[in-house]
């Protein structure tokens, strides 16, 4: 049994219109439009400084665009957590254990707190559940961060570099967890360098170049989870 509820049938969508973000005179994002909805897993590809992380923060609402609008709409119940983000940071308290971090977030999101261990297990980090997060390696810590995010069960899941610093087996587990969320009708957006692995789970990919969408490639028919993992 997983900590997330089953497909709620409710849909959520993100509509970004003419989003521009400038840092001083540097263009991070330029006039970007994006439509995305439940059940999609969008992989945002592009080199360093192409604007991937900035885009994710803007979609999360933790960074205000210089111009343009982002609307996250759907049919949210009053106590729903709409957007969850694992950015460059993992949003964890270093002096709490992995389990405590997941439980804290789940509790505040009014989700099951007792699913923490299962969530950590799914990402292959259950053995570290009772260790202080500050003592964990970067890769483990990122997976604990993702477990924390999934335990809050948001409608929109935004993850920056979900596969960075992970070995193949660990990256496969992360990909699988994201694919499960996609199939449960969540909207998942990831920013990654790992074209190969993201292709196996994405429904669509965007390639960013200097803050613009350079190319959009529909991945086509959705690969079943097992197939996608075999490809990875």
């Amino acid at each position: 049994m997983r900590a997330v509820s089953l497909n709620r049938g409710s849909t959520v969508s993100i509509l970004a219109r003419s989003v521009t973000k400038l840092f001083g005179e540097t263009v991070a994002i330029w006039e970007m439009d994006l439509d995305a909805r439940s059940g999609e897993l969008i992989s945002v590809l592009g080199g360093n400084g192409s604007g991937k992380s900035t885009l994710l923060k803007i979609l999360a609402g933790t960074l205000a665009p210089t111009r343009g609008t982002v609307r996250t709409s759907g049919n949210p119940q009053p106590d729903r957590t709409i957007v969850g983000l694992v950015g460059h940071a993992t949003h964890l308290f270093e002096d709490l254990t992995a389990r405590e971090n997941v439980e804290l977030a789940a509790g505040l999101a009014h989700r099951r707190r007792d699913g923490a261990l299962e969530q950590l297990e799914m990402l292959g980090v259950a053995t570290h559940a009772d260790r202080r997060v500050g003592d964990l390696s970067a890769g483990t810590r990122r997976r604990v961060g993702l477990a924390r995010l999934l335990a809050t069960d948001p409608d929109v899941i935004l993850v920056d570099e979900p596969f960075a610093g992970l070995d193949n087996a660990a990256a496969d587990r992360v990909a699988q967890a994201l694919a499960v969320a996609r199939d449960l009708g969540r909207l998942v957006v990831i920013a990654t360098h790992d074209d190969q692995r993201s292709r196996s789970i994405a429904t669509r990919s965007l390639i960013l170049d200097r803050g613009r969408i350079h190319r959009t490639s529909p991945v086509g028919r959705l690969a079943p989870i097992g197939e996608g993992l075999a490809a990875g």
Partner: protein, 225 residues
Amino acid sequence: MSLLVDAVVLARKDIRVELRAGQAFGSAAALAGIALILIGLAVGPQPERLRSLAPAVVWIALLYAALAVAERLEQIDRSDEAFTGLWLVLTDRRSLFVGRVISLSVALFLLQLAIWVAATILLDLPVRPEYAGLVLVATFTSLAAASVIALVSAVVADADRRSLLVPVALLPLLVPTFIAGVQASTALLDGRSSDGLLWTGAAAVEAGLFIGVGLLAYESAARPD
């Protein structure tokens, strides 16, 4: 209702981290202790003068200790952008304010009592029945100071040169609480309990006002974008 429930969860998180790492209270208490010793050294063995200075000494020591506690609690949240994670998860973000007010008040309350105990010994203060009133003074002044600190800390959370800015931004706004605290404890030490009660009431009014302002303005101050 979820506001209070979440706030208690958040305050417990602060307290749990503090009990584990123990940095905030320890460094704040050390700072307060140094302040007490320094004033003793400055004035020398003159019991009368030390006694008359006691409330001011305690409160100046407390203000500096409060800055240390505030800084540490803020650092818990800012490290690894843990605050952003909380912000996105919460339905009612004011619980972050209320939670911080609770944990800060607890810390300031305990600090204030600890400083009084130390001052009583070091400055040789007479112990009177009115002394019990100090608990009430500590309760309301801690609440008032905690709500100002929680709100202003959010305002200056990611400012440049924060370590310099925090005292400059905070101390002037803590002046009313300082006046009420010093006056209430002076009155109690002098055995004027009705005056002490009046000033404690003033601290309570301040606490109410600042909590109200905090509830209204906190989200604007703390939103990460």
